[in-house]
Amino acid sequence: MNASILAAGILTIATMAMAETPVLTVLTYDSFTAEWGPGPAIEKAFEAECGCDLKFVTAGDGAAVLARLKLEGTRSDADVVLGLDTNLTADAAATGLFAPHGQTVATNLPVAFNDPLFLPFDWGWFAFVYDKAKVPTPPKSFEDLAASSLKIVIEDPRSSTPGLGLLMWVKAAYGDRAPEIWAALADNIVTVTPGWSEAYGLFLNGEADMVLSYTTSPAYHLIAEKDDSKAAAAFDEGNYLQIEVAGKLASSPHQELADKFLAFMLTESFQGAIPETNWMYPAVTPKDGLPKGFETLVIPSKSLLLPANEAQALRAPSIEEWRAALAR
């Protein structure tokens, strides 16, 4: 127990020493701040120019971040929330906890995105990832996929953000025909996992031919593992977008600093870290372009995205449709 007393002592002294420098607290998902995530580089770069201490507080994933914020309410210590996606923003806006960011920034998003409360920091297309050797002719649409004998692993929309993204993808592409598509896909689905990591792990272990992930997933294998065997399929009906956003909280006592951080978020030092740590497209392309390897990725011909309010309203009925179609 001596160690913890000592640690508490050091912590107190450290806190006293930093009492003059303001602390900006950012609530985000935990893979953002991991040793191999974008967090460490971003913290260093921002602290070098803000004269402040940047502190990350984490929750499991985007949905967990929002749940945590709702639990904390106006008592939250966080100044900025980073890592919600467009399926969650309507819900987040409805809490009334966010303040307008008041910034206009030119981004490279494939769709127009203007939200007074949230600024995008990265994005990607959902796609089915496969092994080129095992799937020589990938399907070109959901109907193609359903007609094939390919086996897929997907994530549960009730417990994971990619799973919810897939649900919205089918809804955006097929509208009222969604239940029919799900029923046709039922015999292709090997299993439904609680989250992305289980699904991707199953795919890498050869349990399925394709897995629901992102068009940028093959870049990880190519750049980090020097393995060019993976590819993602672009669908003719379009691929659904995931846009990750950040916003500042109205309850924050550091409004100016929070604004500074949001502006910093769309500069080179932040954006340059994104491609090879978060494995997504940065919202502002770095001036040297994307890292080598990203040019090999498939670019879908069409981008789908439901407006935030619509996505929120469709969530419950779509989950029910999905459950009914697959439970048969």
Partner: protein
């Protein structure tokens, strides 16, 4: 039986109240923050599936554990100790890791299907209700074996000698000695496993092949993480507690105390099981059980070894934190459990105290964590309390296992030596020191091992409280998997399993050091 209703019972009641406050109190905290609560048709079907899957898995685990543990008691063979120790491994594994290990054997491109392919047989699919049962049995069968094995070892050698002297065959030994022991041990083991299965969700969902295999716990996860429907989460959690109370109550009615009396702790020898039919039967049972458990473990180890060099530096401080948390929660849990056992044996309100001790098994760690968060947040920053809270919650969550293991042995000791100790006025701490602890040493060692290992592997509430500088090893494994780093995650999982196992082994050995055998 109302002897010594003094300090022991009071301490036991205090522990029981504390556990009840932690489990039901946090549920109440969640409920009080809720606006509405409703139980939809999807929830009813989840309830049905959960109960059916848990019943089947518990029946199979306990049913299969009887021949397996019987074979382990009756036979002596090289590596027997190792087999018994390895029996502890599956339920120490992080769920995701165990599922990947199972799939490496039973999956679409697993060992079995590849063998089938070579033999020209059509492949079998693990995904579906049978896969759910397989996964749950993989986790819980070894635990059941260890619980029943303790029962078998508790039959005093003198009774078996007497049986041999009277010329009892295997059938007569079963009827007069083994059956009463099983009636005492099985209900408790069944309830423990039923409750573990009740609160699982990653195994049923992943191996179940889709939304048909939805459990109540998934509903809780969805309600808390996605819908922020605190009322629904609290309702579902309350349903789990209700099932827990019913199961514990039924088991208490079914369980009969044995009346073996005391023995002198001689080495147990069996005279009734030397026939070749029984030998063959035991060998087959042992080989099948070991194959079922060891193959997936071997696959996990193989993958893990490849991944060891890929591990990032952050696994080491995380490993240290995990070990410290495990040690603290083990100490807490053992102190609390022995107190509970003493209070239960002492008589008054035994049923209530025992039920309180079993409550954490039915608790959803997510509801518990959320409830604690709601309670703590107004007063202190949750990150500051992350590790103490985790140690406390892990201790509470592991208590039912410790209770199930220690309580039967404690009852035996009280039945055999209670009156003698009473007449010697050996009460309170003195009784603990001179009677209970020496007699219970082996089972306390084993239970500490289980608790330490469970605490190592459990994600519990840490995910809700910790920030990046406080991650425990299971959290790091999860983060690695979430960042495409599957080989590194496999390596870190192996490290986790290795450490859990080492803790388990040290505690278990420590308990057995002075034992006769």
């Amino acid at each position: 039986m109302a002897r010594r209703a003094g300090p022991v019972t009071r301490a036991g009641r205090a522990v029981a109240l504390g556990v009840a406050a932690l489990t039901l109190g946090t549920l109440l905290a969640v409920l009080l923050r809720a606006e509405t609560a409703s139980f939809g048709p999807a929830d009813w079907s989840a309830l049905r599936f959960t109960v059916l899957a848990a019943l089947t898995a518990a029946t199979l685990s306990v049913g299969l554990a009887v021949p397996a543990s019987r074979a382990l008691t009756r036979r002596r063979f090289p590596g027997r100790g190792l087999v018994i120790t390895l029996m502890g491994a599956p339920f120490l594994l992080p769920v995701v890791v165990a599922v990947l290990g199972l799939l490496a054997v039973f999956g679409r491109s697993g060992l079995i299907n590849r063998t089938f392919e070579v033999l020209g047989l059509s492949p079998v699919s693990i995904y579906g209700p049978h896969g759910v049962i397989l996964g749950l049995v993989f986790f819980n069968f070894p635990l059941a074996v260890r619980m029943v094995l303790s029962g078998w070892q508790a039959i005093p050698a003198e009774r078996l000698r007497l049986a041999a002297a009277l010329g009892f065959g295997p059938d007569a030994v079963f009827r007069h000695l083994e059956l009463p022991m099983l009636r005492q041990t099985l209900p408790g083991a069944f309830v423990a496993i039923f409750l573990v299965c009740l609160t699982s969700f990653a195994i049923p969902l992943t191996l179940g092949g889709g939304p048909r295999a939805t459990t109540l716990e998934l509903g809780i996860y969805q309600a808390l993480r996605f819908d922020y429907d605190l009322g629904r989460a609290a309702l579902l959690a309350a349903a789990q507690f209700a099932l827990c109370a019913v199961a514990v109550g039924l088991a208490a009615r079914l369980a009969l105390p044995t009346r073996f009396g005391a023995g002198l702790d001689r080495q147990v020898e069996r005279w009734d099981t030397r026939g070749w039919v029984l030998r063959l039967q035991d060998s087959v049972v042992l080989m099948l059980s070991c194959g079922f458990l060891m193959l997936p473990l071997a696959m996990i180890a193989l993958r893990g070894v490849e991944g060891l060099p890929e591990m990032p530096a952050s696994v080491w401080p995380a490993a240290l934190r995990s070990v410290l948390v495990a040690l603290v929660s083990t100490a807490l849990c053992m102190a609390a459990t022995v107190t509970l056992c003493a209070a239960i044996s002492a008589g008054p309100a035994a049923r209530w105290i025992e039920t309180a001790g079993m409550l954490p098994l039915a608790a959803s760690s997510l509801v518990l964590g959320t409830g604690l968060f709601i309670l703590v947040h107004p007063f202190a920053s949750p990150e500051r309390l992350a590790l103490p809270v985790t140690a406390l919650v892990n201790a509470a969550m592991a208590m039912p296992y410790a209770l199930r293991l220690i309580l039967p042995a404690h009852r035996e000791v009280e039945a055999a030596f209670g009156r003698l100790s009473d007449s010697l006025a050996l009460t309170g701490l003195a009784r603990l020191r001179w009677l209970i602890l020496p007699r219970l040493r082996p089972v306390i060692g084993f239970a500490s091992g289980v608790v330490a290992a469970l605490s190592m592997g459990d994600l519990g509430v840490i995910a809700l409280f910790a920030n990046e500088s406080q991650a425990t090893l299971p959290l790091v494994v999860q983060q690695l998997m979430g960042a495409y780093r599957m080989p590194a995650a496999a390596g870190a999982s192996l490290l986790l399993v290795g450490l859990s196992f080492a803790l388990f082994w040290i505690c278990d050995r420590g308990g057995r050091r002075h034992a006769a055998s």
